[in-house]
Assembly symmetry: C2
């Protein structure tokens, strides 16, 4: 049976769509730019969500839920914020339909006094609540996270990477001091880095955004950036130090322990279903999805083989014993005993779904006390002893997790360059893509010129101090090299 996945080298963009379709992660929806997240995709998101949620709780955060709708007037309270989001807002203007000749129409009588915006992000509605919750320094810090859907009316959309509606988490914290807020911003950046690298096996660069790439309303935007298999960069998570901007816009002050009234300091931080797009483009291959074991909905699939009922019973008994042993090691496992499809068809399906390990068990394995073990990432198959198979599989899952990270790290290292001249820069960006470190004079004009001429943007300014030098474009002084790439 032919696989329906276009080769990555032939057409990366089509390959990506094919991997999503064959892995049954998501479908296009009849609403332009929205998607349907299918059970396989949602189970992956649930695992990502559970891991992140635990990391948020371990760092002292609680979950809460704020309204989907934001009064239009709230958005405009913070000047940069509204400028950033005004052009991509879903606006609710009416609250009733009525019968019409060919179905239903909006009832013009039901027009709202004030339009409601479907949240593109929740800073405004949340800081309106924080005004009521914060009186004194004793009420601080507030460390809240929300899991929610948000809507940004994007014109060019792509499954997971950029959709009109997406699922995400948004942390919103309030602090008594600037230092504490900056520490929180950096702490959550580190949580994101850890999650990306240790769970997603997706190496990232960290840094701060330039002013032109900053979140609308932030003082500083910290980010994690990764490099995908087509050598384009992806912003995978952001953590914003908001200063006192939202506190001032919503008049949120607290009485300090010295009795003074001061504006509250804020952060916000978020990652979204976009991470799934990053995961796919980091690891997957022409056979479909590859999912790191820590996040895989099924970590192991067992495919039993039999030719008659007697064999069936024996083989399934053998499989169940192995399953029991795997269950004791808390491994997520699936036994695929469907009868109306061929073994080859099952192999393809589980490959396309990215199950990290496959155990194949037939009558000959019972005779020899064996199990065939196949790795999804390398395609390696080995015959292993039945004895100790569960621990062997558990160890192998750890190895796969590490190998995926190493292999992605190696790919990114190989595609990260450091240049000194603009000619070299343009050549690499044009011919190879990838991450390029280069000196920049710190001005928005030069940044814009580079973007216009090469489509490369500054992904981030590294947090570590670098060597001084001269801007590759203008020759003016540069404090350190910054990280460029063409990006999604």
């Amino acid at each position: 049976m032919a696989k329906k996945i276009t080769s990555k080298d032939e057409d990366f963009s089509q390959w990506y769509q094919d991997v999503i379709r064959e892995g049954k992660l998501a479908d296009h929806s009849p609403v332009r730019g929205c998607m349907v997240i299918r059970p396989n995709g949602y189970a992956l998101w649930e695992n990502m969500k559970d891991s992140l949620d635990q990391m948020f709780k371990d760092t002292g955060h609680e979950n809460a839920y704020f309204p989907l709708f934001i009064p239009k007037s709230f958005l405009s309270k913070e000047a940069q914020h509204v400028e950033g989001f005004a052009k991509e807002c879903a606006v609710v203007t009416h609250n009733r339909l009525q019968s019409s000749e060919d179905g239903v129409e909006v009832d013009p009588e039901s027009k709202l006094d004030e339009e409601l915006i479907v949240r593109p992000t929740s800073e405004t509605i949340i800081w309106d609540s924080y005004r009521d919750w914060i009186q004194s320094y004793r009420d601080l810090p507030i460390l809240i996270n929300q899991w929610a859907n948000v809507v940004r009316w994007e014109m060019r959309t792509r499954m997971f990477l950029r959709t009109m509606e997406f699922l995400w988490q948004e942390g919103h914290t309030a602090h008594a001091t600037k230092e504490e807020a900056v520490d929180e911003t950096k702490q959550m950046l580190e949580v994101y880095r850890t999650f990306a690298e240790e769970y997603m096996a997706m190496p990232v660069k960290t840094g701060v955004k330039t002013e032109s790439e900053r979140f609308a309303g932030a003082v500083d935007t910290y980010c994690i950036e990764t490099l995908l298999q087509d050598n384009k960069a992806l912003q995978a998570g952001t953590s914003h130090f908001l200063g006192q901007n939202f506190a001032k816009a919503f008049d949120v002050k607290f009485q300090s322990s010295e009795g003074q009234h001061e504006y509250v300091w804020a952060t916000s931080w978020g990652v979204s279903t976009r991470l799934i797009g990053g995961l796919i483009m980091t690891h997957s291959d022409d056979q479909g999805l590859i999912i790191p074991p820590k996040l895989a909905p099924n970590q192991i699939v067992i495919v039993p083989i039999w030719k008659n009922d007697e064999q069936k019973e024996e083989v399934l008994d053998y499989c169940h014993e192995i399953m029991d042993e795997l269950n004791e090691l808390d491994i997520r496992i699936k036994l695929d005993h469907r009868e109306n499809m061929s073994v080859g068809w099952k192999f393809n399906e589980h490959e396309a779904a990215g199950v990290p390990l496959r155990l194949t068990i037939g009558p000959r394995d019972l005779e020899n006390n064996n199990v065939e073990v196949a790795r999804r990432d390398t395609g390696n198959k080995n015959i292993e002893d039945r004895e100790g198979i569960a621990q062997h599989a558990a160890d192998l899952l750890e190895t796969i997790q590490e190998d995926l990270y190493k292999s992605a790290q190696q790919r990114i290292d190989e595609n990260t360059h450091s240049v000194d001249s603009y000619n070299e820069f343009k050549e690499i960006i044009e011919e190879e893509g990838g991450f390029v470190y280069a000196h920049w004079d710190g001005t928005a004009e030069t940044e814009e010129k580079i973007k216009d001429e090469t489509k490369a943007t500054i992904r981030c300014i590294p947090l570590e101090d670098g060597e001084q030098g001269e801007c590759m474009v203008t020759g003016k002084p540069s404090k350190q090299k910054v990280l460029f790439a063409q990006a999604y």
Copy 2:
């Protein structure tokens, strides 16, 4: 320090608001009819969600996610469905704002070709997907659940019980046969009954709705109904057998194993944050929330008492040892060692938050190897031996769970009547409220007349066969008594 909770007997409705406020469950939001679910309320919802989600998965369901927006034309594909929801729809008509003199205004140029409805429920958008997913009997059943927010533009709202936006789960299943779909409908009703009774300690009656109370688009609506402390009924969950209505509206057919093309059979079922309202009105008292141990965010709070630093260290050591023992029993526990508030203040706070058990530990307890244990539900305080305290507390949590159920069951039994005359019916409904079983002739006219004259509605027709009789209003034949009450 005075409690700020109005007495239940004095003003039930105000009491309910006060309990929510003092328990820090939720706030009113600036968007009319929406609420902010605060960390205490959301942690309760998370526990409810986790328990239900496990029950759904144990019965073979998977989670997925469908778009927030539904094209207007989809709603009108099922005639009864659109009639049921047209008058309470949030309608998105534009996708852009622009600057205006005093902030922002809707950009009239951004009007959508087809308006989008914020989902009031997802049957239509989901069955549009199912058409693509279902070709053959091999694709069935589809057993999918979605955790999501939905919007219904309600005019009279009340925290948790009826809000414009609410959080819920909606199951949507597709089956090859009518029998299988009916079985699924009943299975999920049973899941809801189990959850309500065993987790929420909230006894419920089960049955089917009359035609006038049926879900818009359903063939049969099964429900769980409970009776609250003000003797009003609450519909706490519904499970709908949808027949082939949505399959026909969205043209979803499958090829049977005999090669015939047939319409698919459907169910849908949901519970929402409304359950939190039911939980509050079932158990809480004039001191605030009472939460059954299985769902309590914190099952035990430890309040240490000390007068000087030396005592502090000793007391906290003693507390931590007990916490370790409780942790080993997987009990959710909080140590309240805040220094800037009085013990009395802490007691009130944890009472208002509904923490089932409080352990108080001071220097004298250390001397005597004791712990003071206070039950939230009964207010009983006992001095217990330090030795074996963890197991004692675990047992007590189970006892509390059972006692809450028994006490609610007793209250509901005492307030459930069976009558034979309409005069008796009216007297009970008017003077006492509660559940009343009575004969009804099965017509919508009589149902309507009873509602107009007494505000009582038929909560459900019991699933068990009852004795035949004569309608209390018309004297016409009745197959069985049905359950009436005034309801939220």
